[in-house]
C-alpha cells in the first residue's frame, strides 16, 4: 500500500473550470502526461506532491480506469473532451474553455485549464 496525498489544482490566468482535488489511489495511481516531449512540469509536480506515478501517454499506454488525472496541452478540440468524456480529471496547461463537439462532457468538476506548476498546491 502506498501513501498518497491530495492536491488542489486551480485554474491559471485566463483559464476555466476547477478547482480539482486530485488524490491518486492504488487503483488509480497514474498522473498521465498527454503532452508529448516527456512529462510536463505540471504533471511532474502533481506526481511529486501526491505520490502518484507520472507517466508519458505518448510512450506507453494505460487504461482510463488507472488514471488519477490527465495533464494535456490541448488547443481546445480533441483531448479537452476525450478525457472528461471518460470521467477522468483533466488539467489543460493551455487556457481553454469548453468548445467543440465534445464540449458537453467538459464540466468544472472534471476540467481545469491555464494551469502552471504553481497552480498545484498541497492541501
Amino acid at each position: 500500500m502506498s501513501e498518497y496525498k491530495s492536491v488542489v489544482v486551480s485554474k491559471g490566468r485566463g483559464g476555466w473550470g476547477g478547482p480539482l482535488t486530485v488524490l491518486p489511489t492504488d487503483d488509480r495511481p497514474l498522473v498521465a502526461s498527454i503532452t508529448g516531449g516527456g512529462i510536463h512540469p505540471v504533471a511532474q509536480r502533481i506526481a511529486d506532491l501526491t505520490g502518484g506515478q507520472a507517466f508519458d501517454g505518448f510512450k506507453s499506454s494505460a487504461p482510463f480506469d488507472k488514471i488519477a488525472v490527465a495533464v494535456i496541452d490541448c488547443g481546445g478540440t480533441a483531448r479537452v473532451g476525450v478525457y472528461p468524456m471518460k470521467k477522468v480529471l483533466t488539467v489543460d496547461v493551455h487556457a481553454t474553455s469548453p468548445a467543440g463537439p465534445l464540449a458537453q462532457f467538459i464540466t468544472e468538476e472534471l476540467f481545469v485549464s491555464g494551469v502552471k506548476p504553481e497552480d498545484v498546491q498541497e492541501t
Binding site: G36, G76, Y83, G100
Partner: protein, 134 residues
C-alpha cells in the same frame, strides 16, 4: 508541383478512427501521430510522418488525399502540437482568425474522409510570411 513550392509536412495515413465521420459532420478533422495514446484513436486520423519541418501558415495548402484546401488562419499552439505529436485540428469554419489555439481554419464546406494509405501534406509557396505571434 510547380517550382517555388516546398513541402513542410508530409505523412501517410495509417488508420482512421470510428468517430472521425461524426467530427467531419461538424467540419472538424483531427490528426494524431500513430504513437498517440489509444484513447485518442477513435476520434483521430492516425498517420506516420516522413517530412516534419514546420507547421502550417496562412496561405499554405493542406493536401488531404486528392483534395487541396488553403489555410486561412492558424492558432498559436498548432505548430508545437504538429511537430511534437503529429496533432492538428482542421476546422472548416471559414474564419481568418483562429477561435481556439489549436485550430487550423479552412473554407467552409465539406472535408474529405481520408483512408488508410492516403497522403496528408502541407505545402508552401515561396515568400509566405512567417506568422506574427505578437
Amino acid at each position: 508541383m510547380s517550382t517555388g513550392t516546398t513541402t513542410v509536412y508530409d505523412t501517410t495515413v495509417t488508420a482512421v478512427g470510428e468517430q472521425v465521420p461524426a467530427f467531419l459532420e461538424h467540419g472538424i478533422l483531427i490528426f494524431f501521430g500513430d504513437h498517440a495514446p489509444a484513447e485518442l484513436h477513435d476520434i483521430s486520423v492516425l498517420h506516420r510522418v516522413t517530412v516534419c519541418d514546420d507547421g502550417p501558415r496562412p496561405g499554405d495548402l493542406v493536401h488531404l488525399g486528392e483534395e487541396t484546401l488553403e489555410v486561412l488562419a492558424v492558432g498559436d499552439v498548432v505548430r508545437d502540437n504538429l511537430l511534437n505529436l503529429g496533432h492538428m485540428d482542421i476546422k472548416a469554419d471559414g474564419l481568418t482568425e483562429a477561435k481556439l489555439p489549436g485550430d487550423v481554419c479552412v473554407r467552409k464546406g465539406p472535408i474529405p474522409l481520408l483512408a488508410t494509405g492516403d497522403a496528408f501534406r502541407i505545402t508552401r509557396q515561396e515568400n509566405t510570411p512567417e506568422q506574427d505571434h505578437s
